[in-house]
Symmetry: C2
Subunit: 572 residues, 2 copies
């Protein structure tokens, strides 16, 4: 007789562990339990279900070949005995039994195990606001909350939505509410940018402006104080500065690992991250108990620190590794770099490694470079712009992270995925500058945006140009700074409206004539070189430095950045 | 006074070396010469110029900000003195001069150098066929040939085209001729598949069938013997088996490095590859002379062998590295893995590393695995199928190469670029199986196709299933092999037409009921399990092996492969 393995949690990591184990070692008895009745669903698809792109919640529970993954499916197809509406209440490690409660009958029971798998996932963090229990306040806890939200919209009961939190789920849900349903959507974000910690401000501002263009009201630096109700139903969200009427509130303020069952069983749970502590084989502090998915902490392979990284991609990897190891294999999960991609209306947003703000907080001597260019060969019809940022350490030029915001193609993901696994090997800027990437005009440029932004960062680290931020440029422009002159090296037609608006201070010397027009450029002022992507500015700066100019600055990223931020002063 | 650097060749690597050098060390005098008058063009864009997607050849010579890169541009913008229509006839290394001939006047001259850069590129290999000099026989040697071909088509002088060679350029040109111009296009390929050595047959057959669907006649195993003329103009191409009338012939039979100038100067040129030998700093055997681009040989980072890899992506990298090193830097180019992507009508085709056929020839104990699935979450609207192959070494499970054919998105490129740089680090199948890749339903699946095909290969190496090729399946099916039974584990509706056509031999047991229907499956015959992607077949095989069945086989890649090959017997 084979041993018995019990799996607690049947969404992503759990079913994968159970199924893999049964395939490798069919004599094992595998019992999978879950407190819910809707199991093994694609949680990342919920926004597309709510938007209406996916008509029915069962689609999220179906295999690629259109079978619904329910209890019978796991029983028949996988040989995994599956108990739903079954809550694991306690793990008795000494007796090796799981205490359970059958939620439909209230009956209690014990299930003995030889090996146990904890894949209990994570739960939304609910801000402890007054009014959080009002009818109409939601969080995406599971498929039921998704169904409830969609039903409410479909019934016409929702006109105005407030989303608390402009993280990935907040923004995906903003699109879901707005794009097809046309609801009035306000997103309240505590920090001063959407997607904090994931991307930095230069890219986040593009996202913020895009949300505005799509009719989503984004309120930054919002301190939510209270949820106001009327007849038991949500009526408004109150912040320190404002009041936002709504008939539905979605809390999208992150998740917390469901690690209490493990903690109560005496397993090591990190007080810092709240995640279950596992080794590289994904064993907990009890070698008979494995854990994976959103309830464990993992090692960040850039910082070396532990964190909880609730990503469906990782949960699926954990599950299979656990399945292999339970069957006697020796597979390992060494950690993650947080490879991330999301759709936000017409934008694709992707990142890996750490952002500049995180890198600073983590004590790196961090700096960043920006770049924008067409995603494909510029002469290829329909090529659109992609905006990228690379983060590196000044001391050893190690690449710490990378971010991309582009049109809704696979381009942003492609660049991030090119780098993600590589980050484990601690690449330096010269590695990413020259890294080989497939090229053809319909797909990218001979030097990919990832190569180019690495080259820009290398040039910056080499001191080949003096950078200036667009914030500083704007400040000097609006303050009429007498010590600064703006030299536009673009085509005359592009420079003309600026010269008209900022007479005297905004001058024009076309890029290829800079070396012949040194006398037009003042040596006793700060010279800020203006072009769309910063490439021409950089080259012009090199010409000017060579001619003895010293006060020459290249704005980071090119004029396309403030344009895409919606900065009117620089969008003429 | 700075030193003088002369650059021979002004297409890709040359201009980049010259410009980078001038930016880093402006006091250097840089002279760039080229025998042509059209320089610094995006050669990879030629098929899109010929197709009409790009209206004018100058587009291929323009910067992203729409300046034409001609002599004046390099002079003014880059400070690079540029001489076109100037042929380098000899390098005198002792005197450090380049002998040149001004092609317009016939005048000869010498240009002294301190350092020299050879970026002379490659030229099309012209098959030594009788009739190759006839009017109407072309090869894409430079922008002039592209212009000449397009003019001829635009004038209505071309109706039927024969392309010799189904490599990347042959296929891109087939699309250019066919898609917008509607010409009758025949492609003659010496080998038994398109894109030989780049992708293997399972994917190449998809390309071949797609070409057929698009009205391109593809003739494999074609031995061209002669080009027939009429009044001095091409009239037909004769092979050992056929005769193909045409009014235009395009030779797309590969390129040869232009290394004769270097060889005559006594520089080391490989007799094997024909490429100029360089070190990692891209110096030739004369340390004062650098070389890069299509005229050098590079190290293949998977095989360790030298080869000529004429890719625009690499030429641009070489150029910048040479520029840095000439300025006193120490950048290196360690080699390449041949990251490759191309558009072929509605398909994106990408590859990196080495193919199965190359791996066998190179002495690896190679094997491959196939997989197909939707590019995005299967429930995400509009998700299309991507077909992938991974090649690994049986001895250590090292990943040797990867190929993808999918719809015309960035998806195939994304997967190949995720792996390309990583190949340098000799990843094993478990590395690519679990490698972290960003996931969201609009972009991919929780386990990316690259992960999944690595898992399939791992399962294969572990002996978890017995593979069989579709060629063998088809053979047994058509031969009515009495010892084989086909067990279709798909939905009844999918199996029905097969059961009707192959009565008795094609039986149906739906995937999730296999373990309950063991009695329906013969133990004394070879059982071939049928499904669309091979996932269900694999799982069913595991169930059957566990039940003591031994003669159970899983066709590599799933039924979607032969379907996309256009195999009628398996496309019911």
């Amino acid at each position: 007789m084979g041993e018995r393995v019990v799996v607690i949690g049947a969404v992503a990591a759990g079913p994968r562990a159970a199924s893999r184990l049964k395939r490798l070692k069919p004599e094992t008895e595998v019992i999978m339990i879950d407190k819910d009745d809707l199991i093994s669903y694609g949680g990342c698809g919920i926004p597309y279900y709510i938007s209406g792109d996916i008509p029915d919640e069962t689609e999220l529970r179906k295999t690629a070949f259109h079978m619904v993954r329910n209890e019978a499916f796991f029983e028949n197809a996988k040989g995994v005995h599956t108990l739903t509406k079954t809550l694991a209440t306690r793990i008795d490690r000494e007796k090796k039994v799981v205490h359970v409660k059958y939620l439909e009958t209230g009956q209690e029971d014990t299930i003995p195990y030889d090996k146990l798998v904890i894949t209990t996932g994570a739960s939304p963090f609910i801000l402890p606001l007054p009014g959080r229990d009002l009818d109409g306040v939601f969080a995406i806890s599971n498929l039921h909350s998704a169904v409830a939200i969609k039903e409410r919209i479909a019934k016409g009961e929702v006109e105005k939505v407030v989303i608390i939190g402009a993280g990935p789920i907040g923004l995906e849900m903003a699109e879901a509410f707005r794009d097809l349903w046309g609801l009035e959507v306000t997103v309240l974000e505590y920090f001063d940018q959407p997607l904090p910690r994931i991307i930095d401000k230069p890219l986040a501002r593009i996202v913020a402006h895009h949300l505005e263009e799509k009719g989503v009201k984004l309120v930054l630096n919002a301190r939510t104080k209270e949820i106001e109700g009327k007849d038991g139903r949500v009526y408004a969200v109150i912040t320190e500065d404002g009041r936002y009427e709504c008939d539905l509130v979605l809390m999208a303020t992150g998740v917390r690992p469901n690690s209490q069952l493990a903690r109560e069983a005496g397993l090591l749970v990190s007080p810092l991250t709240g995640g279950i502590v596992v080794n590289e084989r994904l064993q907990t502090s009890d070698p008979n108990i494995y854990a994976g998915g959103d309830c464990i902490e993992v090692t960040h392979l850039v910082t070396g620190k532990k964190l909880v990284l609730p990503l469906g991609s990782l949960a699926n990897r954990h599950g299979r590794i656990i399945g292999t190891n339970l069957a006697g294999g020796t597979e390992t999960f060494r950690g993650a770099v947080g490879a991330f991609v999301m759709k936000c209306f017409d934008l694709a947003i992707a990142a890996c490694g750490i952002s500049y703000s995180v890198a600073q907080a983590e004590g790196f001597d961090a700096f960043y470079a920006l770049h924008n260019q067409t995603e494909r060969a510029h002469y290829y019809p329909g090529a659109e712009f992609i905006f990228v940022e690379i983060v590196a350490d000044r001391r050893d030029r190690r690449v710490l992270g990378f971010q991309a915001v582009g049109p809704m193609t696979d381009g942003a993901m492609a660049r991030v995925n090119s780098l993600a696994k590589l980050l484990e090997f601690k690449p330096r800027l010269e590695d990413t500058a020259y890294m080989e990437l497939a090229y053809a005009p319909p797909f990218n440029t001979a030097l990919d945006p990832l190569n180019v932004v690495s080259m820009v960062a290398g040039n910056l680290a080499d001191g080949l140009f003096k950078p200036i931020t667009w914030d500083e440029v704007k400040k000097r422009l609006l303050e009429n700074d007498p010590d600064t002159v703006f030299v536009d090296v673009r085509h005359p037609k592009e420079a003309a409206p600026f010269m008209e608006k900022y007479p005297g201070r905004w001058i024009h010397v076309v890029y290829d004539q800079v070396r012949h027009n040194l006398d037009k450029i003042p040596r006793d002022k700060d010279v800020i070189l203006i072009c769309n992507s910063s490439m021409r500015s950089y080259e012009a700066a090199r010409v000017l430095y060579a001619a003895g100019f010293e006060r020459v600055f290249v704005p980071l990223g090119g004029l396309n950045f403030p344009r895409r931020w919606g900065w009117q002063e620089l969008s003429l």
